[in-house]
Symmetry: C2
Subunit: 212 residues, 2 copies
DNA sequence: AGACGTCGGGACGCAACCGTACCGTCGTTG
DNA sequence: CAACGACGGTACGGTTGCGTCCCGACGTCT
C-alpha cells in the first residue's frame, strides 16, 4: 500500500486569489442583473473573464457558489449601536440600513434571494441565519436596552418590533424603491418610536389623568 | 381589391375558454413554483395539459402572458373599508391583506414579481399600477377619513403612512413567512395606530400637562 | 535542474426551451 | 350539405446552459 503522502500543492498548482475574487464580484453583479432563477455559471464566467472550470474547481454547484458568497458578503460587521436612547439607536440603525440597501447590488439581490427562499429550503436556511436571525438579535438588544432605560415597557413584543422596524424601511428601499429624504427618515424614526411604545409607556405617566 | 369581408370565425375555429382558463391557472402555479426567471412556456403548457401553440395563439410572449394574467388577477375588488374609526379600518385592512397573502400562490408570486420588477421596467410599471398605486389610494382614503374624524393631524404624511401600514405586514407574511396569531394582528394594529399619530395627536389633549 | 501535479481554458455531449411551420380536426355558416 | 377557416398538437432548427474531459502552461519542491 502506498501510504505515501502526496506533497502539498505548490507552484502554479494553487488557486489564484485574484480569480476567486473576480468570480465573487461577477457573481454579485450577475445575481443583481438576472436574479437567482436565471443565473448561469457561464454568464458568471464570462463576466469574470474566466473559464467555467475555474468556477467548478472552487465550488460544486451554482447553489454552493451563491450560498458561500452570500454568506461571506453578509457575514460582515454589525456595529455596536448603543447611542444612549431608543430614538437615536433607531435613527442610527435606519441610517445604516438605508446606506446598505442604497447599494444597487444589495437592493436587487436581497429581494431576489428572499423570494427564491420561498421555494429553496437551502437558501431559506442561509438567509434565515445571515439576515433574519441577525435582525432579531439587533432589534432584541435594542429593545432590551430601551426597556432597561425605561423607554419601553418590559412587555414589548420583540416579534412585532422586528416587523415594525424592518418592514417599512425594507418596503420603501427594496420594494417600492422610492427616493427618500433625511426628513423622511426622521419622520419614520419618530413613528416607529411611537409604535413601539404602549399607551402607558412610562409607568409614572400612567396615572396622568386625561381630563374629559 | 377584394374588400370582401371574411365572415367571423365560427364553429371549431374559436378559442375554447376552458383552455384559456387552464393556461391561466397553470401560469399562476408555475410562477409560484419556479418564479418568473425560470418560467418556461413549455412547463406552463405541460401543467395545463395543453400545447405550446395554444398559448402562443393567445399571447405574444412570456411577458405578455404574465402581465395580462397578473393584471386580471390583481384587478379584482377593493372593499369599501369605512368602518368608523382609524383603528377598526386598519384592523379590517390588515385582516384582508393577511387573508390575501395567506394564499401560498400570492405569497410566492408577489415577492418574486416585485423582485423581478427591479430589473424589468414593464413588470415594474404593471405592479406600480395594480399594487402600489392601489395601496396609496386605499391608505390615502383611510388617512383622510381619519383626519376628518380628528383622529390624525392634517399634516400626516401619506408617504410614510403607506410604508408603515404595508411594510410590517408584508415583511411578516411574504418575506419572513412566520405564522401569526390574531393577537399579533391586534398588537400590530395598535402599534401602527400609535405610529401614525403625532405627539399631539388629539388637539384637545395637547395641553394635558405631564407633571415632572 | 528536473520532476511533479494542479492550474486555467477550450471543446464536447446532453438536455431544455424558444418560437414557428405544418397538418389533420371540427363546428358553424350559407 | 359542402366549404370555410381557425383550432390544437406534433415536429423542427437554433440557442443556451450544465457539468465533464483533456490539454498545454507554469511555479515550487527535491
Amino acid at each position: 500500500m502506498t501510504t505515501g503522502k502526496r506533497r502539498a500543492p505548490a507552484g502554479a498548482a494553487v488557486l489564484r486569489g485574484e480569480i476567486t475574487t473576480a468570480i465573487r464580484r461577477a457573481l454579485m453583479q450577475e445575481l443583481a442583473a438576472v436574479g437567482y432563477g436565471r443565473l448561469s455559471i457561464e454568464a458568471v464566467a464570462r463576466r469574470a473573464g474566466v473559464s467555467k472550470t475555474a468556477i467548478y474547481r472552487r465550488w460544486n454547484s451554482k447553489l454552493d457558489l451563491v450560498l458561500e458568497v452570500v454568506n461571506a458578503a453578509a457575514g460582515a460587521r454589525l456595529p455596536a449601536l448603543d447611542t444612549g436612547s431608543l430614538r437615536s439607536d433607531l435613527a442610527l440603525l435606519f441610517q445604516v440600513v438605508a446606506h446598505a440597501l442604497g447599494h444597487p447590488l444589495a437592493s436587487q439581490i436581497i429581494p431576489d434571494l428572499l423570494a427564491e427562499a420561498a421555494r429553496n429550503p437551502t437558501i431559506d436556511e442561509t438567509l434565515q441565519q445571515v439576515l433574519r436571525a441577525r435582525q432579531q438579535e439587533i432589534v432584541g438588544r435594542l429593545i432590551s436596552r430601551a426597556v432597561q432605560r425605561g423607554e419601553l415597557p418590559a412587555t414589548t413584543d420583540p416579534d412585532v418590533a422586528v416587523d415594525l422596524i424592518v418592514g417599512p424601511l425594507y418596503w420603501r428601499l427594496a420594494i417600492a424603491r422610492t427616493p427618500f429624504t433625511d426628513s423622511y427618515l426622521e419622520t419614520l424614526v419618530d413613528s416607529v418610536v411611537r409604535a413601539l411604545g404602549t399607551a402607558d409607556t412610562l409607568p409614572r405617566q400612567r396615572e396622568a389623568p386625561t381630563p374629559g
